[in-house]
Symmetry: C2
Subunit: 492 residues, 2 copies
């Protein structure tokens, strides 16, 4: 029934993988090595070395394998005649990049157990990508594939936090992060942010004034530096440097969660060239690009720039962190889905190359810019400007609309019970929007602490998910819901 | 650059998914409902409800989605012209089953965010499969896809154990389980096993005599009932019933980790018919098939019966457990890779159907039977019978070879330091085997506690991974390594 056809030599990804990330990324000479983070590791992870069994299977190549419960490929229901499967996909870039990188990740590789780091060809591609775009300024950095940044965040929580710890983050943040913190028993210490993102002034103040007798001082800062979720703001270069210096001074690890880095909006993307260098020059420096001491853990995701269904991304950090990360893979997901890796290998190594990837990212930025511009125009047209305000994002996919509750006819009367009343107003706007066909996201989902009675509420609008032609209508319906709630008759 | 072609209506798996598992599996009438397991949940998981944000996105269908950061399919680099991608695969069974199940999982579904439970079409297929094969005898059971059983074990540890807990398991067990226990800070209480697997007598004794003043009584039993890893033994029907009764009496949850269930070896598989009912009749009853009170958490995996690179399996348990499981997905891997699901949907729903799946499993069992028979014959030919012994497994892929150290020429002299000396003998046999081209697995990797001075060591041999024609030679090399260590000159 099964067709025995896969070439035996195709199924030794493991034999090819040892030290790929190390050899690909470690750089000798003048760069410093990463600071030792041993004291930052959690109780759970401190002595965790990964799977002993998996280590033994790394001896596989050239032996008759009577040791490992890895079924021979003749036992799979797919055959090598399907090995060219995804190369038949209709890809954006032409075939000129093909055969530039040898195809060393086959269907047989995809179907068998993968390695914790990821397919060597993918790790190598992503390491080269990290070198060209970010060039971390220390020696011993490395890359590991992740099963998406949500999974990576979970593993990083387990690696670096114990129950009762405190973690620093933007005051408004990604709910997946907020909920992961709660699950890990970790409290969030919110840091204010303004139109340029997280405030280094406030961050420094919090840390300088920390009472270590009351609670252990935070050792981790979680930040979304570009197109922040939900506010859409992007930290300037100066701000990043100031925050990094504070991290150095206080021994903080920085989790740089940066899925929107390449979704760069505005005139920059339209004017740029199409080669890698020009993209690189236009991009704001990431934290890892200024990370002299190996304290940044950078999360990249394919979810916003390729497709979320892949459940794939990559983490870049010092070798000691990547070793822990891979150890967690051994005992959790083992590896990224082989089929996701197969398709990524095909796209990156066989179809696109580094330049094709860069071209894709620029084209994608243009699409998002169009979508942003349509949405912003609709907001200007329909949102009541005395009630609603927003900043125009230059990265990402989010518009953070602030609503001034003081303009509400019931505000004075309800002043005594702001918190509950705010929630009611928020719910009514949401429900009215849904009743008329638009779904937006309540700002309160992004609060790291309960609102402290500010006369303001928020909605997050995204221009990523809807059909481009529906964006204007969506904003119009939302605006009408706001107006109705604020009793601006005649507009609905 | 991107080709805008995917049909909008294809991308609402979420809109189709609510309550699929419930409606598919809940059965009314005479069956009891599952016992409430609230007191079994860990501190971490007790109040954990999953992601609020993900819940809001479940409203997506029929609205203009300005709420969710889920990129529109026009923003992906793959197009609908590739939607028939995996159906071009050369599958074992013919096309007669096609179109029997509607294709409601498309490439667009695969590329966007998936749901925690898994694609509805897959959950439905697997629920039907569970009904035909296992028919859990209570009402409110459900199925959730997993990112493989290693990932499932990790989530189940988080769901049910706190640091300092004790978990029951076979004395020799899967290293991934042993290492996950260590990571979770959970101690293993080993239970002896014999030629029929885990001993109900010993299990009862341990629980009856447990001193709850010293340590909290275990509330979880982890067992691999069929083709146990590493011993290869399969629990008889009587034994399973006896163990289940003990679980009932002591309020234990049973984690039934059963990846080898369908790899059924021996004359049974050769004589049986090819339809679903005949397979079902031949199989030993699983724990979940006798689970009146919903205390079994059954793990199935695609790794040994389809392909490990998919990183996919499924967990079957009571709805309350599945709800927690899905909640963990929300904050960890989000979903199984869409491409893995796409390929599984294609195989199960479009190519095979239930009967095709059953046919595949029977054919696979025959292949494994051949491999087992070759390996057993080689063991009989080459292993020194005065030193080595083993039982012939009737499930799975492992042969557990016991080596009698009392036959070793140095045994008497080294009697004083059994533990260390055993390890040295084990290492020397392993190393000599590798030097001559065979890889086997040291038995000590499977010990849940340090050996207590028994004059016995073990190696696990598998007949799954090698080429069939290499099995005999592999065993011969291993046997020679044993003989050399035991100084049986003239055999090497």
């Amino acid at each position: 029934m099964a067709h025995i056809a896969l070439d035996e030599k195709e199924i030794s990804p493991i034999a090819k993988s040892p030290d790929v990330s190390t050899t690909a990324s470690s750089e000798g000479g003048t760069k410093p090595k990463a600071t030792c983070l041993q004291q930052h590791f959690s109780e759970e992870s401190r002595n965790f070395q990964g799977s002993a069994l998996k280590k033994t299977t790394r001896l596989l190549s050239n032996f008759i394998p009577l040791g490992t419960g890895r079924p021979h490929t003749e036992l799979y229901p797919w055959t090598s005649s399907d090995a060219n499967w995804p190369t038949s996909l209709n890809k954006p870039s032409g075939p000129e990049d093909r055969a530039r990188v040898p195809s060393i990740y086959t269907l047989a590789n995809a179907l068998t157990y993968g390695t914790a780091l990821g397919a060597p060809s993918l790790v190598q591609f992503l390491t080269e990508h990290m070198k060209s775009i970010h060039a971390p300024p220390y020696q011993d950095w490395a890359v590991c594939l992740t099963c998406g940044s949500t999974s990576a965040l979970d593993i990083i929580f387990r690696t670096f936090t114990d129950r009762g710890d405190v973690i620093l983050a933007e005051k408004y943040s990604y709910p997946g992060f907020i909920e992961s913190s709660a699950l890990a028993g970790v409290d969030i210490q919110p840091v204010d942010l303004d139109g340029q993102g997280l405030s280094p002034h406030k961050l420094g103040q919090i840390l300088d004034q920390w009472n270590t007798l009351e609670r252990p001082k935070p050792k981790v800062l979680y930040t979304i530096p570009s197109g922040q979720n939900p506010t859409g703001v992007t930290q300037s270069q100066e701000r990043r440097r100031a925050i990094y210096e504070i991290a150095e001074r206080h021994g903080l690890i920085i989790i740089e969660d940066d899925p929107y880095y390449f979704i760069q909006l505005g005139p920059n993307t339209a004017s740029g060239g199409s080669n890698l260098e020009s993209v690189s020059r236009q991009l704001v420096p990431s934290y890892i690009s200024i990370d002299k001491s190996g304290r940044v853990i950078r999360l990249d995701s394919t979810s916003k720039i390729l497709a979320p269904g892949l459940r794939a991304g990559w983490v870049t950090a010092s070798q000691q962190v990547i070793d822990k990360y891979a150890a967690y893979h051994d005992l959790t997901t083992v590896s990224v889905s082989g089929l996701s890796q197969f398709v990524l290998h095909d796209l990156f190594n066989l179809q696109w190359g580094q330049e094709g990837f860069s071209t894709w990212l620029q084209a994608l930025s243009l699409k998002y810019t169009q979508r942003r511009d349509i949405t912003v125009a609709a907001c200007h047209s329909f949102l009541p400007s005395d009630i609603c305000s927003f900043a125009i994002p230059d990265h990402g996919m989010f518009l953070w609309v602030s609503i001034d509750l003081r303009m509400h006819p019931m505000y004075a009367a309800e002043g005594q019970m702001v918190q509950e009343w705010c929630s009611q107003v928020e719910d009514r706007i949401l429900t009215l929007g849904l009743a008329n066909g638009v779904q937006v996201t309540k700002g309160s989902l992004f609060f790291t602490e309960r609102s402290s009675g500010e006369a303001e509420l928020f909605f997050r609008l995204t221009f990523a998910a809807a059909k481009e032609q529906d964006l204007t209508e969506g904003v119009r319906i939302f605006a009408n819901a706001v107006k109705t709630e604020f009793d601006c008759r005649g507009s609905v």
